[in-house]
């Protein structure tokens, strides 16, 4: 559906905007998770075909002209789980940074600035 593709693009852009403009590290990670959701919506919406149903075959749904594309669903399925693990890893880094520097402001971490 075109609306959902547009919605996915808006969420990706909003998430990246949040990642680039916010100073708080937790806010940056929230922006990342918004971008994650947007990307998943984008991929699943591309696999959708109008007036078709989920790819689960039984007596009522028998042939290929009745179901949507299973491949994007399968990709997104695993990507969501990986997204949780990566988010948790980033939050762990945030905790460690806060323990060392007592600050969550990204501007206080200047080691890689040039």
């Amino acid at each position: 559906m075109l609306i959902i593709t547009v919605l996915g693009i808006i969420l990706v852009v909003l998430g990246l905007w949040g990642m680039l403009t916010q100073k708080n590290i937790i806010k940056i990670i929230i922006g990342f998770s918004i971008m994650d959701t947007g990307t998943h919506l984008l991929i699943v919406s591309i696999g959708y075909i109008k007036d078709r149903t989920a790819p689960i075959m039984d007596k009522a749904v028998g042939n290929a002209s009745q179901v949507i594309d299973p491949v994007p669903s399968a990709l997104v399925l695993t990507a969501i789980v990986i997204g949780l693990a990566v988010t948790a890893l980033m939050l762990t880094y945030a905790i460690k940074l806060f323990e060392i520097r007592k600050s969550l402001d990204i501007n206080d971490f200047k080691e890689l600035k040039w």
């Binding site: 559906m1 609306i3 959902i4 919605l7 808006i10 969420l11 909003l14 998430g15 905007w17 949040g18 403009t21 916010q22 708080n24 937790i26 806010k27 990670i29 929230i30 922006g31 998770s33 918004i34 959701t37 998943h40 919506l41 699943v44 919406s45 696999g47 959708y48 078709r52 149903t53 989920a54 949507i68 994007p72 669903s73 399968a74 997104v76 399925l77 969501i80 789980v81 997204g83 949780l84 988010t87 948790a88 939050l91 762990t92 945030a94 905790i95 806060f98 323990e99 007592k102 969550l104």
Partner: protein
């Protein structure tokens, strides 16, 4: 009718995204980002992908929010100890 429903859901999701980015209170921002995932799982149902919807409902709005909240709690504790 479905289109109208999706438009309403989309507007709420965009508002929640803006709130998650611009809200000063971190707790509200985290809950707002959980709302985005929860509504996304409704949209997956409408896109005929129930497998993805189950995953997103359990992970996006449940476990991710909890992991964020644990982190916030931990940071507040370190702050209080200082």
């Amino acid at each position: 009718m479905i289109t109208l429903f999706i438009v309403v859901l989309g507007i709420i999701m965009i508002m929640a995204a803006l709130m998650a980015i611009y809200q000063k209170n971190l707790l509200s921002a985290i809950v707002a980002s959980g709302v985005i995932s929860l509504l996304a799982s409704v949209i997956y149902i409408l896109l005929a992908a129930p497998d993805v919807a189950m995953t997103e409902a359990a992970i996006g709005s449940g476990l991710t929010t909890i992991v964020f909240l644990y982190t916030l709690n931990k940071i507040n504790k370190i702050k209080a100890k200082k």
